[in-house]
Symmetry: C3
Amino acid sequence: MAVRQAELEIPAHTHEDQHKHEKLVIIAWSGDLDKVWPQMILATTGAAMGMPTTIFFTFWGLFSVVKDQVRITGENWMQKMMTVLDRPGMEHLKLGKMNFGGAGPAMMKHLGKQHGVASPNELLEIARELGVRLVPCQMTMDLLGLQPEDMIDGLEEPAGATSMLLEAQDAVTLFI
Amino acid sequence: MAVRQAELEIPAHTHEDQHKHEKLVIIAWSGDLDKVWPQMILATTGAAMGMPTTIFFTFWGLFSVVKDQVRITGENWMQKMMTVLDRPGMEHLKLGKMNFGGAGPAMMKHLGKQHGVASPNELLEIARELGVRLVPCQMTMDLLGLQPEDMIDGLEEPAGATSMLLEAQDAVTLFI
Amino acid sequence: MAVRQAELEIPAHTHEDQHKHEKLVIIAWSGDLDKVWPQMILATTGAAMGMPTTIFFTFWGLFSVVKDQVRITGENWMQKMMTVLDRPGMEHLKLGKMNFGGAGPAMMKHLGKQHGVASPNELLEIARELGVRLVPCQMTMDLLGLQPEDMIDGLEEPAGATSMLLEAQDAVTLFI
């Protein structure tokens, strides 16, 4: 996997350097491709720099960590409708603007590939390897009727706003 | 009011704990239901944890703290048009996506009710009770021609970006 | 230039005050007028308060610092299409909602002028004068095929996520 970001941007760091760095907490609220990309780029870059990094997936952002093969979820028609309208899974991300029925995201992914920028899915894999904590929001899972087996592997236990705000103490915290 | 968030997530804390917590500053920029909800959930959770919490309502976010019965505001036709197109008041929030003429927000509120998640309006009430400082942006009030009597009760004096950035020093600061 | 923000809100400060203030780092992700405005208001206010301030322009936000006369950029049809669909340059900002083919932004700019709020372009000029560091994202420039000569004057060298996160240590950091 040729990941330009890892090759070009991340400086060598020593054990000492790591102690100078704050934590990084990303509240991944959006599930749009053009927001998921910065969520993943910042999380992997932070972790590679030695920042203890956590992504808290909530609201539409939770769809990024639902298995791609999960199509319809939930126990009642409203939950089903939410997930049909906005198909979960990292392979089905849309753009917040200029989506054009999928042509926009395809173009953007193609440009990324041309320029050696890893896809969100590759970055999620790298995040896991770098030890980024991936935490799904319990409340959103309940609202959408998602079960643990609907989620991708490697996630931590679902948690709530309190856990997130505790983690945010003395951290760089971004709502994306 | 059965508020699941308050029941399940907020840990008991002592006076000592409070001193470990940073301030929480939320810049409430958006007036969409799916952003107002996290604004309110995070603010009430933070305050309940002992974080001194401030919400600064600006741009579209200011509409959340305009009285529900205020329909048309402003002194000139442009200000009037802005508020007619995007009706102010917490009861009239729209979704950033999947609004469907109000069906989306209705579904989401219904799901919230089913799962014991308090509505934004209930959370705003809890925020006031927990001592969250609710600060409207003076510049936005001027731009929209809003008067103090158009706003809900319990707000602090309108303030500007300087006050907000002073409050943001050594705080967890989120732009939502 | 009658800049109300500078006149009314920014307190006098001494050298001592400056040392009490944290850095301010704004990740300018959006290129919509209603997001660019708070990016610029917060950056100029922070700088005027004595906060060492950096704006990191990335994704759609990068378009704010492309020359207004640059219309079509890039080496291939996909890059060209991205910039034709979303014309770069501070004079061509759209609203995230209620754009109405440009009528919304025109109204909002007019309201701003009526109330003595500086335009984004004026604020960018003030930001430069106040020493705000304006940093374009290298990856976004590559993806859109933008060259240094396409960008406005006064920018720093393009940089990546690592530089941004290093700057974010002990700073107030906002993703807008």
